[in-house]
Symmetry: D2
Subunit: 366 residues, 4 copies
């Protein structure tokens, strides 16, 4: 069915293929009166566009975004915000040789099985460029959160074997290195590892961590629209993400209850937790603590080594993918993860407004 | 908003609290003409009900299910199937002492923050008994899959430190031990570990693995309703699940592209993969291979040790939870994971029917 | 797909057949803290149950409702409210003779075409008893509206040729006659008309008018979730309703703009309209004036006269329906129309809460 | 909430304001393999664009549509189809004088009440130009229907007092007169009536009839997604529509059951009805007969006569709207009604595919 729409009240609908006319998103349900400038959206897009480092595709794309609707005199009007990014590089040359072959680790085969044929130009809809729509939507969502004192931070937790332990997090350094790692030294190690990968015509994976501060307690709708459930769907819908964990996550399975439970205590008039193994989520709702999750990303499937595969006509063949591709997806996916998280939280903030009769009276009686 | 409905076309709506009149589910969108007998649903419920082993709560519940609507002469009619399980044990005694205290690791605090107050009897809606509705829905979904040659298997992959390596899987043994592990020997080890936990008044977590065979290629809707994204939401919506991974999952982040890519080859007329690092999903759609995912479950938060917490009135206090509780959630959650997976797949099977014009012609022209 | 759920945030899911075990509804998304007593729901159900007048079926049903979940200590908890009404009269005798014949004006033929077969007992899911779930849901929705100063009134505007002109409305008399007309004299005329219909073994239709007072301006979501669009769907989803109009409605098509436009003027600090041809809706949103719509109901299709029809095996035949049936649907449908209107408005009240950033700040900052 | 999306499986999301950068629609869920040429969409848009007759606004708009995504080599790919129409006439001159005044019969007041302020340029999102997105979506939906042998016809049934009785329908003449009436003679009468309206600086309303042939029986989902309920929402969501009726519609309320019931009979092997009072819908599902409904349209609210109203600052004032406006909305709304009907039917065709287990087996086993 229609899988290109995400969210219930704050809702994005994305469209566009790698080598079509462009990529875009329609953001519906954005509250009216939010100051919105195109430069804020552009800043988000610039974080994912190619050419930010020597570890990204050579494809030339300025990814300039245009606001087509939904704002008036610098503020959102409550009507749908349509955003458009024209594709500039529409050469199909690099992709011609794979029109009739299924690339291992890609969606070529499954798209063909689902729809009967596929737009093979650059992966069509399954291209990484699809995330432009998500990122533009996330830029707007993040503004809503900011107005409410909620802040989202995402970064490269690990690139290949190079991981930044929590003890070494330096958040101010995230924007200082092109790999978006919270530690410049580790970023250098990761960079040299990526150089070695490129020499070997190979690629690697990694992990992205996202933290959300300032969340009010009680976000998330029992029982199927839990905060973690919604975030899991949002993040797993990003191509190449193969796993997600919240707080202690996978490690919680190895702890005992006495270790994993977070003790409550009073800090002044505020209820707080001594630890945060829960990652800021209890019973599927935010508990007021920092929300923490990690997404694990598979290595870039496009590698320049010869690979065994089959043709659409059912013959075994060997494929060598030409053209330069990112040796790792993680750095450019950081802003996408942050965007999907912001969209999910914005949607749940709106949904939560009807949770109490007293809230209805506040809006309709005061 | 309304978080108690899951699915788009095959859709379940669950309701009920731990100590209310009962628990139930309404299954809507089930195709007409499916043979359905109450005994099949009961068999699913029996897999999760208390008293199956000495590692479960002493609470007495027969969990007898009644079909209230949606079937006629042994077949589904296409109208909503309403299923009801009456609660028998409605004593609030065991829970009286926690009416005004937030249990660590539970949803007491977040429910109160969201709704202004809470039904404290046995955790109310956040009780494990909520999963009865999911399981009954999963029983019906699994029948649809079976008719189409799709089979779902779930089991306890790990309980505390006791894990069953893939090389030791013996699927016929899953139903032979009360812990639902695919290896009776390992199950014995796990049992003695659980005994030690109970002696220590502590609990542990573990992992559940689910495999789905016989899936046609192409299930899952790009880009937000991907098969893995929908499954992630379904599984993370189960209380106590803190992480999920598909195929190589988290480990894929440490592999290189040349290792992680699954090579295609022809097996007769069929396209197959030499390996299955992808876990049966490419680009968010089933690739015809076995779908594999693992859910990681936190330790039971209800432990008999004294724990520090706070009261609803904002005073620090110490809490000791009385009454016996499962030292591990994993075994009883196995059928819940299998059920949510079956519901998700059934829903996507229906959604996929409109993916090609030729399918519409098959239904409306033939 | 799953057509048994109505609403986005305030959402009802109904289930049950005429001669199954019972009829019910799950109400999800009801704000927490709403005082709810079963007697209020029962009062709504009593308005539609058989035996209220000599113009209704002889079928004996007490239609006693049970609250199965969602309330605690007399208030809603924010979790799904499950309501159950057991069917008492499950005799299939009266219906045996129509098991293999399509009743004219009924859904027998279309259900069989859609699902391949049907539950022929009393029309199964297409029976008027299906509206029990809607009415129970409407009872809860009306409580939410009442707390916000919104009042819904519905009544029989016309029964057969007997219509009550606006000039003769006496709202206090609606509950004084069993036909729910706003004028006891006209109700007597309608009663004698119904007597003549029963003598002729025939039936008649009529019209129901609904008025909603106290609505805040701005309810309804442009462009597809307009207030009138949502109400139209809600009301047309009631069996036997064949038309709906808002304000001047059909008559507006015969007016000129200079006649139909409602002039604005200031009444103290309030913006008001000199007339209400619009029926309280401008651009699909409430304008603060009284919302007015009329639903037109077809005559009861079950008549005791011989009718020509066909059998399931494709033979022409003559059918005479036995058992007593209401000669008119209108009076018992009044509370159903009111209920669907209340549910629609409650849902849009919740949806509207996120329309302005200032509303979000009111909830999350104050 | 997000009100700019319509449909469940075949889904359109529209965006754009009268004097913004443009208007557009994203069509998601369109089956793959549908031949789609931009000229077909342009032809639909040309039926509603200004300048088709002397009875439409002088505004110059070529309304050229561009396909931005979702097609490859002339066929739909199953991915979202994004369509863009740039606004050419963005002068705000004609509208400057109403920036601070609420136009009677328009949405100025309700938009301001809902969102706190409004885009006053040409009515912003409430402008008739919003229907461009619907019409483009309808063009694609109509292609799906055509492939399945389903044909939709809409026309002006009445303009002011000039109505075409069914006995005088000449369908081939609909496209021969600029008012889209099924009778050229009546169209001449209507034209002179419109001339008189323009002289009087006044406007009028009318009625649009829509017929759908070739529908399979069983479309529509009980109980809330009935075919007529879904169509009612679709049509009432069009600005200026104030009423809808199906088959006998409002008149059915004045008939007796013996008159209104449609007798079934066998025609060869086919079940048919002797009459079609039902308008092709029984129990909310298509019965295989011609589907017939009528929409009633209010007179154009923009008239050049002085009207009493109020300013945003709460002062009484008199308003005279300058610039030429259509004296009647009906002719240009014909294609919009046809489009919304086609979209609704396409969506229900997809939803219905999962109604029987045998259909699933046809797709997944054959």
């Amino acid at each position: 069915m229609s899988g290109s729409t995400f969210g219930n009240l704050f809702r994005i609908t994305t469209w566009g293929e790698s080598h079509g006319a462009g990529i875009g998103v329609v953001i519906d349900g954005c509250p009216a009166g939010l100051p919105l400038d195109v430069s804020h959206i552009q800043a988000f897009l610039d974080r994912r566009k190619p050419g930010q480092s020597r570890y990204t595709t050579k494809r030339q794309e300025s990814d300039q975004v245009e606001i087509l609707s939904g704002t008036f005199e610098g503020r959102t009007t409550g009507t749908p915000i349509s955003l458009l990014v024209r594709n500039q590089d529409q050469r199909s040359r690099d992709y011609g040789n794979i029109a009739s072959v299924y690339r291992p680790g890609h969606a070529d085969y499954t798209y063909t099985q689902k729809y009967g044929f596929r737009d093979y130009r650059g992966g069509g809809r399954s291209s990484g460029r699809e995330t432009i729509g998500r990122t533009a939507g996330g830029a707007v969502a993040s503004l809503i959160l900011k107005e409410l004192g909620i802040h989202t931070t995402a970064f490269s937790k690990a690139i290949g074997p190079v991981e930044v332990p929590e003890s070494e997090y330096r958040f101010d350094e995230i924007s200082q290195n092109t790999l978006y790692m919270p530690n410049n030294e580790r970023a250098k190690d990761a960079a040299s590892y990526l150089d070695s990968m490129m020499k070997k015509l190979d690629s690697c994976g990694g992990a992205i961590e996202c933290m959300i501060n300032g969340l009010p307690a009680g976000l998330g709708e029992p029982v199927f629209e839990k905060l973690d459930a919604c975030l899991a769907k949002a993040i797993l819908s990003i191509g190449a993400v193969k796993a997600i964990e919240f707080g202690e996550g996978r490690n919680a399975a190895l702890l005992n209850g006495s270790q994993n439970n977070d003790a409550f205590f009073m800090h002044g008039n505020a209820v707080q937790k001594k630890t945060n193994h829960a990652g800021g989520i209890l019973g599927g709702m935010s508990d007021g603590d920092t929300l923490v999750f990690r997404a694990f990303v598979k290595p870039t499937p496009s590698i320049a080594q010869p690979q065994q595969t089959v043709t659409e006509n059912g013959e075994d063949t060997e494929l060598t993918i030409h053209g330069r591709h990112d040796p790792v997806i993680v750095p450019r996916a950081v802003v996408v993860v942050e965007s999907m998280a912001a969209i999910t939280v914005a949607d749940l903030l709106l949904q939560n407004m009807g949770s109490r009769m007293e809230y209805l009276k506040k809006i309709y009686h005061d």
